[in-house]
């Protein structure tokens, strides 16, 4: 007898009502049940950060959370960054600075970067470097990622970004 629960989750502003087995990991729920394959699986034990999403505005490892725990929560995945076909300044900066090579860590890294800039719109390079220590990248050696995040920070400041404000509005229903 499988332990099934009904959950209601908002992902990237859209509500989903589904039934899930209790042991289903949030990352698998997003990928398989919702078809949002942008969030990737790296290690399944919370070390690499590849599966990073925002849960109620905070970055988490979605491989260490059960989908059933996300009932009632608002989640943001990489699919929620671009709006109406327009890349988010972070995505544009990643492209311009070549902050990705294989792209596998990129979705998780983008969301973590998004959070870092929400918390601190004017980070120093060392703040960014320390902030992304939560997310492993095997390809880039991190340098171009840090450049991209700093570049995005200045773009966002120029566009009048305010810490903390955008995040809640964007992810809560």
């Amino acid at each position: 007898m499988r332990d099934i629960h009904r959950i209601s989750v908002t992902v990237n502003g859209r509500r989903y009502d589904r039934e899930v087995e209790s042991r289903k990991l949030l990352v698998d729920f997003l990928r398989e049940d919702l078809g949002l394959v942008g969030t990737h699986v790296g290690c399944e034990h919370g070390v690499c950060g590849t599966c990073t999403v925002l849960l109620n505005g905070e970055s988490i490892r979605s491989c260490l959370t059960f989908a059933v725990q996300a009932d009632g929560a608002a989640i943001m995945t990489v699919e929620g960054l671009a709006r109406d076909g327009q890349l988010h300044p972070l995505q544009e900066a990643f492209r311009e600075k070549q902050a990705l090579q294989c792209g596998y860590c990129t979705p998780g890294m983008l969301l973590r970067a998004y959070e870092i800039l929400q918390d601190n719109p004017s980070p120093r390079p060392e703040d960014v470097r320390k902030g992304i220590a939560s997310n492993l990248c095997r390809c880039t050696g991190y340098q171009f990622i840090i450049e991209a995040i700093l570049d995005a920070a200045s773009r966002l400041r120029a566009a009048g970004a305010v810490p903390g404000s955008a995040r809640r509005e964007e992810v809560l229903p």
Partner: protein, 809 residues
């Protein structure tokens, strides 16, 4: 020496750091990686892994697993052996070290697959694995390669009769004379432990069998050597033209997705068995313990013969390499070593003894550098030892021995050739960027404060584009003297004038193939790279292609594109001549079309020519076929055969770049921890196609190399238990473990490749361990510490500091 093949500079697109063509889909989370694919009715597989290093399988009970609701099939090793032949194996005796997708009679390493479960979900498949009950008769393991090579040691493969799968000593040049004449011989024993690519994405495959057509289609993030795939078909017991392996982008490889056939075979076998699509994705434990891609695991005894003026004369290398339980690529990793075994130096002779030993561990495969990074480390360790013995500056001793720019192409004692180079230029540039003199002063100042700062200076080669000969020149009577390692492309200019490039191997490992191809095509046709479409073909669409590996892809695809573009231009010129009513000799290629020399307004653009070519057959000369498309299979442009006596291995890896890395480190003598104060890397990989891209790979490769130098090791205990089974214990660097890398470039083109490109993707990692070891020794020079083991973990460094201090008392 042939004339340069490429159009001379100025180049319009080659050399530009354009943003990458492939990025948007990855940024949007639409990368299309293997696990992103799903088809109706798809099942999921998981593998039951051996908990023992060495054991006979006495019983496999799958009944409980089969009965679990949701489980569709369970396959034991014995059953798999009826469904599949052994896996393709390029080792010395494939019929004696038989390698199968699941173990049959015994398990030979912790993690080896024993059974596979297929179920409606991965969760259920793992539940099924829990219910598979395997009885083992545990056998004594062999873990130490030296012990494994002794008579009487337990055998990994009984049929082989020995754990020494291969051994031979090669002599190149007059080693004995060079040693006899030497003023000084320095010796050391060096130990390089195994590490591996560990990309964030594991290997995976999705297989579908169509009983109506007999076609087995396998999507996989590994697809190299498409012209060898008939071997995989043979393994799967299907006709070779009934197998289509389709590539998906790979989330990194670093060697570990090079010919990773086992996962594809498992998925294919299970799809045929169940009659439904089957997806098998390695989990992290699979990818650490059962990946078939551990890196070199070597014990070296080395002697370097030196003259008192610092001239390096000769090298004697004896190496034991622990290959693990199988030896799929033979001793190819030593071919990589022999390609550049003298480093950038005029060393005159080399003796190289290799002992390939089997043990109860996961087998070796490819790890960025494929064995040559180890030799780089070894040679530089010995040069530094000689420098220390002669009280000579490490920069000076290198300068004295560099092959000079006027000596290229330079044939090294093994017979391989270095095509071009300017090693002193690279070194000088690195010293400038590093502000070397300043750091030497800082070192002095900080030493007085009780801090231990060190500067490493190394100069090493980065060979690129292997020839197939390096897999068989080990044997006097090789089973198959394979000499093909091509890359192919199809270029199509459609009726609207848009260009599509089709690639035939899994080229995307993070190495920017779409961008590089678009830039090369743009260079040929004068189009915007953003307008070029790059598609990846499945294997059954024909053209043979080897894929990335040995830093070969850019060089080889440039050759293929150049060849296909030339064929297209030839046909286009004939059409243009016909349309313009001139002869082909009157035309010149300019501004994306053909124009009449001296009358530039009389021209036809490529788009116009294409339209005619596609639609108006009868308006063109009779022998011109409809369309404007060309294939090119580009074979290795410079390979020569080994001599029969193997005293000369021929040219097999001739496009050789060079780099100088200069790290400045601080060593904490209480803990042995190494931190970076600065890091400079100057690379010369010939002409760069996309400098920013190459820089990214150099920086990433350096970070990867720091992992190798300080952090990463697959650790097996004395009983063969793998102690590093997760990312908690196999530690790859985060952003906090690696410094900013100041990258410098030098471009010494190859005379033999299109545009003078050389391969550069592996280079970063090929330098770092040597550089970091040198820096550690330099920091700890007051103690006389010698870094002779990789990784130089804090514990190992601390042990050496304490041992040296004890000695001084």
């Amino acid at each position: 020496m042939t004339a340069p093949l490429s159009p001379s500079p100025p180049r319009r697109w080659v050399g530009k750091s354009i943003p990458r063509i492939e990025d948007p889909k990855f940024l949007l989370g639409r990368g299309g990686y293997i696990d992103d694919l799903a088809v109706p009715g798809m099942l999921h597989a998981a593998v039951v892994r051996s908990p023992h290093a060495h054991a006979r399988i006495t019983r496999v009970d799958v009944e409980a697993a089969r009965r679990l609701p949701g489980v569709v099939a369970v396959v034991t090793g014995a059953e798999a052996a009826t469904l599949c032949n052994p896996l393709p194996d390029f080792g010395p005796a494939p019929d004696k070290h038989v390698w199968r997708c699941l173990a049959v009679d015994k398990v030979r390493y912790v993690g080896e697959g024993v059974a596979a479960v297929v179920a409606e979900s991965r969760y259920l498949a793992e539940d099924g694995c829990d219910l598979v009950s395997v009885e083992y008769e545990v056998l004594p393991p062999v873990v130490d390669p030296i012990a494994a090579s002794q008579p009487g040691a337990p055998l990994v493969h009984d049929a082989l009769g020995s754990n020494v799968a291969y051994e031979r000593t090669f002599v190149f040049g007059d080693v004995e004379r060079d040693f006899a004449e030497a003023d000084l011989v320095v010796r050391d024993r060096l130990r390089w432990h195994r590490s591996g690519g560990q990309p964030l994405e594991t290997v995976g495959a999705l297989a579908q069998y169509d009983p109506g057509t007999g076609m087995l289609t396998i999507y996989c993030n590994s697809l190299t050597f498409t012209h060898f795939l008939f071997m995989v078909a043979n393994t799967l017991k299907i006709p070779s033209n009934k197998l289509d392996i389709r590539p998906t982008p790979a989330g990194g490889s670093f060697g570990s997705k090079f010919w990773a056939v086992k996962v594809a075979v498992l998925a294919g076998m299970l799809a045929r068995l169940t009659g439904r699509p089957v997806k098998f994705i390695e989990d992290r434990v699979d990818n650490i313990s059962n990946c078939d891609h551990h890196g070199s695991d070597r014990i070296y005894d080395v002697e370097l013969a030196v003259m008192k003026d610092g001239t390096l004369r000769s090298l004697k290398i004896d190496v034991v390499d622990d290959y693990g339980a199988y030896i799929q690529f033979g001793t190819g990793t030593h071919g990589n070593s022999l390609a550049q075994v003298v480093g950038p130096y005029r060393i005159r002779s080399v003796r190289y003894g290799v002992h390939a030993v089997l043990t109860n561990k996961c087998q070796q495969g490819a790890h960025r550098g494929f064995g040559s990074e180890v030799t780089n480390w070894v040679v530089e360790r010995m040069v530094d030892l000689a420098a220390r013995a002669l009280a000579m500056d490490p920069v000076e001793i290198r300068r004295r021995n560099f092959i000079r720019p006027d000596q290229f192409p330079y044939v090294i004692p093994t017979g391989n050739m270095y095509d071009s180079g300017n090693y002193d230029g690279v070194l000088t540039k690195a010293l400038e960027l590093a502000d070397y003199a300043h750091w030497r002063r800082e070192q002095e100042r900080l030493r007085r404060e009780g801090r231990y700062i060190g500067i490493g200076v190394i100069s090493c080669q980065e060979r690129s584009v292997f020839s197939a000969t390096e897999f068989w020149f080990w044997f006097d009577q090789p089973a198959a003297k394979v000499t093909s390692a091509p890359e192919s492309v199809t270029l199509c200019v459609d009726a609207a004038g848009n260009v599509t490039a089709t690639l035939y191997s899994n080229a995307f490992w993070g190495n920017s193939p779409d961008t590089v191809v678009a830039q090369l095509v743009a260079e040929e046709f004068g189009v915007d790279p953003a307008s070029v479409t790059v598609v990846y073909s499945g294997s059954n669409r024909g053209l043979p292609a080897t894929g990335p590996g040995g830093s070969r892809f850019t060089v080889m695809i440039a050759g293929a594109i150049s060849g296909a573009a030339a064929r297209i231009k030839e046909k286009a010129a004939r059409i243009a001549a016909h349309l313009l009513e001139v002869s082909v000799a009157d035309l010149e290629w300019a501004d994306g079309g053909f124009r009449v020399k001296g009358a530039p307004t009389r021209a036809k653009s490529l788009a116009e020519i294409a339209l005619w070519a596609h639609l108006f057959k009868h308006s063109l000369p009779d022998d011109i076929e409809t369309g404007l498309v060309a294939d090119k299979v580009y074979d290795h442009p410079y390979t020569t055969m080994p001599s029969d006596d193997r005293k000369n291995l021929g040219v097999f890896y001739p496009f050789v770049g060079n780099a100088c890395h200069i790290p400045v480190v601080e060593v904490d003598i209480d803990t042995g921890a190494v931190t970076f104060l600065k890091y400079v890397a100057v690379h010369d990989a010939g002409t760069m196609v996309n400098p920013r891209s190459l820089e990214g790979q150099i920086i990433g490769g350096t970070a990867h190399g720091i992992g190798t130098a300080l952090l990463e090791e697959y650790v097996y205990d004395a009983g063969g238990q793998l102690l590093t089974t997760s990312y908690m214990d196999y530690v790859i660097p985060s952003s906090m473990e690696v410094p900013d890398v100041i990258v410098g470039h030098q471009e010494t083109p190859s005379p033999f490749t299109v545009h003078g490109i050389k391969g550069g993707g592996e280079g970063g990692r090929m330098m770092t361990p040597a550089a970091v070891s040198a820096a550690i020794d330099d920091a700890l020079a007051p103690f006389g510490v010698r870094c002779n083991e990789i990784p130089a973990t804090p514990e190992r460094v601390k042990a050496r500091i304490d041992a040296a201090r004890k000695e001084h008392r």
